[in-house]
């Protein structure tokens, strides 16, 4: 086996929005440090922004007097039914505007009002961009800031320090092109490996299986790596169910917010304002303004269940100028080309006819209208001391930082907030490295050898196993990654609240799901990979299964339905503020394999000591 060793001061796992932000910031403060990015695809088009975006969803405009940072915190908190890490949301909020300006300076075309010179708003928090090249632009900055980018580096495990089992010392994985074992040693690691799709069964079928709203290569790796390393996790129960145009998964934000389209049920009723229907389940949250994303979903799901679908978005009522028509199409061409293709394939003209919208399958993410991920230390000045253990955005594993989808707690970060959060983690990692100047990371060679063997085991399983069958995909000796993935999706869909059950689950279903999931995890030992591509799929599946297990355990532990419209516990169908307005924080002990679930008190952020708004 060929082994490549890459030593660095700071290793960044994942060169997406957060990873590139981390590299940029770490280079600014750590002039002479060795900063390495390990990226499983190619940094220029990797991650959720590979095809571009048509909007930056988090821009406060506080210099322009549009929003205060506190407004952003309150907005995120309201949308998540009262549960966000206010300190982290505040931190992201105060750094996001300068981060957007930086991207504009690099060359990202942000649409401006010719008269006022201000960015054109899509909604209160969103601004419009010509974002086809959003990722390659940000990647150029990240790539140049890094000492080295290792593309096609599939990270499978974090490596812990041999003298301290709760301290990170690097990461291990393989080169997806030449098959060598990659061993990264680092003083600090920033984990920015994105969110999780294909944890639940998508609505798409067959050849279209890859058509999910969030990118199919978002493999839950961040969570898989964190959980295996014994980092504490939070909010893993909250899944995102975005409403999207049916089958093409085209986003609806620009249509609702910018073009001001509205949706109706089959009777032509605007069902979405029925707050009284929410009250029995959620109490006063029914009055929240704006209505939380999950509650908007809930009202739509009720319409569908009661047979008043399809839900139609009236694009035809708003495309009354050529500019609006162009804005509508660009929205898709910049970030979900499939939707444009689907409309063309159906001879659909959005200017003359509305189109169906649907709640999708669940996604596990930390950057959208949800906040799953690692439990991280908050910023020194605003985090309550219970949420603070030294370094901003460090997980509960020493030296391991997280940002973007990988970091839990704050919601509504999106692309710009993930990038800003990466910058926060990047600076923090430099501080950590400076403070531990004399520390020499070291790992146990036996552990490296063990992982080295495990990583390539699926190739071996296949090679040996295929001698016992003539041909084809049916074999009792090994499991193909795609077969394991379908099993995972079916379990999660049917037991953990996927779309086929209208997002409904309960303790009995979850316990049964956990049983099946455990057997799936045992079977991962038999994964068979024909080649390096399949080996990548094998490890993506491993990370997804870890993610799924955390989701099920969290969902089981939280005995209430806090986010109706994201998922329902039929045995605890209501919001229960008295017992559950708190964070669930889980940890899997890497040695014993035992999971513990902690209830952590909800604490508001401390008063900032440094002014944000201009005096």
């Amino acid at each position: 086996m060929n082994v490549k060793h890459v030593d660095s001061d700071i290793l960044i796992v994942g060169g997406g929005m957060a990873g590139c932000g981390a590299a940029y910031e770490a280079r600014f403060w750590g002039k002479d440090l060795k900063i390495v990015i390990a990226e499983k695809a190619h940094i220029d088009r990797s991650g959720a922004v590979a095809q571009g975006l048509s909007a930056i969803n988090t821009y406060l405009g506080y210099e322009e007097g549009e929003n205060k940072v506190e407004d952003f915190v309150n907005y995120a908190k309201g949308d998540l039914m009262g549960l966000v890490r206010e300190d982290i949301n505040y931190d992201v909020g105060r750094h996001v505007d300068p981060s957007v300006r930086l991207m504009e300076e690099w060359g990202l075309p942000i649409i401006k009002d010719e008269k006022t010179g201000k960015y054109v708003r899509e909604g209160r928090w969103q601004i419009l961009i010509h974002g086809e090249s959003y990722k390659p632009i940000v990647a150029e900055a990240g790539r140049k800031a890094a000492s080295e980018v290792v593309n096609r580096a599939v990270i499978t495990h974090l490596l812990m320090d041999k003298n301290d089992p709760n301290r990170v010392a690097g990461a291990i994985g393989f080169d997806g092109r030449d098959g060598s074992l990659l061993v990264f040693k680092a003083k600090a690691v920033v984990l920015a490996a994105g969110g999780g799709t294909h944890i639940f069964r998508p609505r798409s079928v067959g050849e279209g299986w890859g058509r999910t709203w969030y990118s199919p290569w978002s493999s839950g790796s961040a969570y898989g790596l964190e959980i295996q390393a014994g980092a504490k996790m939070t909010q893993m129960e909250v899944r995102l169910i975005p409403t999207r145009f049916k089958d093409g998964y085209g986003p609806v934000g620009a249509w609702f917010l910018y073009l001001k389209a509205y949706a109706t049920n089959r009777l032509g009723e605007r069902y979405e304002n029925n707050r009284e229907k929410l009250r029995p389940l959620v109490g006063d949250y029914a009055d929240a303004k704006p209505m939380p994303t999950c509650l908007r979903n809930h009202l739509m799901i009720e319409e569908l269940k009661e047979g008043r679908g399809p839900i139609i978005m009236h694009t035809d009522k708003v495309l009354d100028t050529p500019e609006k028509v162009e804005a509508g199409w660009e929205d898709f061409l910049d970030m979900t080309i499939s939707q444009a293709g689907l409309w063309a394939s159906q001879n659909h003209d959005p200017a003359t006819r509305g189109y169906e919208i649907m709640p999708t399958e669940p996604y596990i993410m930390g950057s959208h209208a949800v906040n799953a991920g690692a439990w991280v230390s908050g910023p020194e000045d605003v985090a309550p001391k219970e949420y603070q253990w030294g370094y901003n955005h460090m997980t509960t594993v020493t030296g391991l930082f997280a940002a973007g989808d990988a970091a839990g707690g704050a919601a509504h970060k999106f692309s710009s907030g993930s990038f800003a959060e990466g910058r926060i983690a990047g600076k923090s990692a430099v501080r950590f490295v400076r403070d531990h100047e004399l520390h020499v990371p070291a790992f146990d060679t036996a552990t490296v050898d063990k992982y080295g063997e495990q990583i390539f085991q699926p190739l071996e399983n296949y090679k040996v196993g295929r001698n016992y069958i003539t041909q084809g995909t049916v074999s009792p000796y090994y499991l193909y990654p795609s077969q394991g993935l379908k099993r995972l999706e079916k379990i999660m869909d049917e037991y953990a609240g996927g779309w086929t059950s209208y997002y409904m689950t309960n303790a009995d279903l979850l316990n049964r799901g956990l049983e099946l999931l455990t057997m799936l995890r045992e079977d991962l030992e038999y994964l068979g990979a024909e080649d390096l591509h399949q080996l990548t799929r094998a490890w993506e599946l491993v990370h997804r299964v870890w993610t799924a297990e955390a989701v099920v355990r969290h969902t089981l532990a939280r005995e209430e339905t806090r986010w109706p419209g994201y998922y329902y516990r039929s045995d605890f169908p209501k919001v229960d503020d008295k017992n559950w307005k708190l964070f669930l924080v889980s940890r899997r002990d890497p040695v014993s394999g035992i999971w513990t679930m902690e209830k952590v008190k909800y604490l508001p952020m401390a008063k900032p000591t440094v002014p944000v708004a201009p005096a």
């Binding site: 910031e25 600014f28 403060w29 750590g30 002039k31 190619h42 088009r45 991650g47 590979a50 095809q51 506080y62 931190d91 105060r94 750094h95 505007d97 300068p98 981060s99 300006r101 930086l102 690099w106 060359g107 075309p109 010509h130 086809e132 090249s133 150029e140 900055a141 140049k144 800031a145 096609r152 798409s204 067959g206 050849e207 279209g208 299986w209 890859g210 058509r211 999910t212 990118s215 290569w217 162009e326 199409w329 061409l333 499939s338 444009a340 293709g341 689907l342 063309a344 394939s345 159906q346 003209d349 901003n392 910058r423 430099v430 400076r434 591509h533 002014p611 944000v612 201009p614 005096a615």
Partner: protein, 143 residues
């Protein structure tokens, strides 16, 4: 729309394989042509299509979801910094064309940031690069 490759145009340069975020464009060493080896993990992100210098890659709508005969084609130019789209409908008559900006500065123009040394006390505060003296008080946000 998973991708497919035109054998008359593919020049075996491996660029699609290098860029595909899903790791599914591969050059077949026997035929010397690239192909999509796992269409059901294609996001239709068009990254490979935009990258192929020979314009050898096309997409056709996911067979298990979409009706046939429509087509979306694209030309992306890093010199003019524009992208041109053409959407042809199933009816073979309706064609929509769009053209957008992709970048306002030349490619490769971003500078590596340089800050203070590790000894500088500003490393201890909560300000990020180019911010300060207070958060967001600098016009233009940075510099």
């Amino acid at each position: 729309m998973p991708t497919y490759v035109n054998p008359k145009l593919c020049k075996n340069n491996g660029k699609c394989m290098e860029i595909c975020p899903s790791d599914i464009m591969f050059v077949n060493k026997e035929t010397n042509f690239s192909y999509n080896l796992e269409p059901d993990m294609c996001w239709e992100c068009f990254s490979c299509v935009k990258t192929c210098p020979e314009h050898a890659i096309s997409v056709r709508p996911y067979a298990d979801i979409s009706p046939m005969l429509s087509e979306v084609t694209v030309l992306r130019d890093e010199k003019t910094n524009r992208i041109a789209w053409e959407i042809k409908y199933r009816d073979q008559k309706t064609v929509k064309k769009f053209d957008f900006a992709i970048r306002t500065t030349p490619w490769d123009s971003i500078k590596v940031p340089t800050g203070p040394t590790l000894k500088d006390p500003t490393l201890n505060n909560e300000l990020l690069a180019h911010e300060g003296p207070h958060f967001g008080t600098v016009k233009g946000g940075h510099r």
